[in-house]
Symmetry: C2
Subunit: 145 residues, 2 copies
DNA sequence: CTGTATTCATACTATAATACTATGAATTAA
DNA sequence: TTAATTCATAGTATTATAGTATGAATACAG
């Protein structure tokens, strides 16, 4: 029942961008230094986030990335689902094409669906703002990680 | 965020054993025929369940397995945690030895802990009896799968 | 006491997913 | 024109998953 590193790192990237939002673009090099994640791996993550419209990017010198919206407008669930595809605990819940032919009579499907629901409800209950607030509470103005 | 086949199959094994509970031991061969899981793979699953005290087993001719308790005395969470180890969404929640040194200042840890909590609360809200009842509702007396 | 059916124990293996790394092109600003 | 960046794609090493294989131990039936 693990979240992949991409999902976890994406959350840290988004928090980092929110905290270091000066209106300028933030280079991956800087995020890398603060978060201890290689630039190359970050590239994969921000590409996915960018294609999903969660980030704005700028190439070239002084280029980088910044949030496309205000922190309170991102549900954590949207960030995680963007990276993970979905959060379904079993394959047969991943879209109708994976729904197995025995679905009608499957006694555990309802149970798994319920689990999927509580997970999604939870991650959608929080916004990026909530995690940023929590981070600033922990670090005060000295935040550098 | 997937549950492994062992976790999913274990649930089906337990439901199968509950439904076919005549007081006798049920051979893996029979469960295999009904569930479409090889005897060899079932052996691994029931061994884990047995060591955790969820099943009683008997070797030799006419041997097999049966539930150690009444269906209503098994929380689904106990069955799943037995097979999966735990249901933690991130490694740092898997026991104190994995708690990372930055835990104190980690702003996402609380979020992940909350997710872990809602998952465990959900799976502990149901008992094996609930899934058996659901299965019998779907199949009536013709249950053979 | 022998044969057969079963669990129990352990080791092995194939496939897939994860977690990266590598190479180089395209773009932008100074 | 140069340097710094993102963008695109491919490659790889490690780990986890999902099984299979071999054979010993046990129990009952005859």
């Amino acid at each position: 029942m693990k979240i992949s590193t991409k999902g976890r790192y994406a959350l840290r990237v988004m928090i980092d961008l929110a905290i270091h939002d000066t209106g300028e673009y933030v280079a991956l090099k800087d995020i890398s230094a603060r978060q201890g994640i290689t630039v190359k791996y970050l590239e994969q993550i921000v590409t996915t986030l960018g294609k999903a419209g969660l980030l704005r990017s700028m190439r070239g010198n002084n280029g980088g990335h910044r949030l496309a919206k205000k922190p309170e407008e991102y549900r954590i669930g949207d960030i995680l689902r963007t990276m993970e595809g979905d959060l379904a605990p079993v394959e047969c819940l991943q879209g109708d094409e994976n729904l197995c032919p025995k679905a009608e009579e499957c006694s555990t499907l309802k149970f798994w669906k319920g689990l999927d629901d509580v997970v999604n409800e939870y991650v959608d209950k929080f916004t990026l703002r909530d995690l940023v607030t929590e981070t600033e509470k922990n670090f005060g103005n000295d935040y550098s990680i």
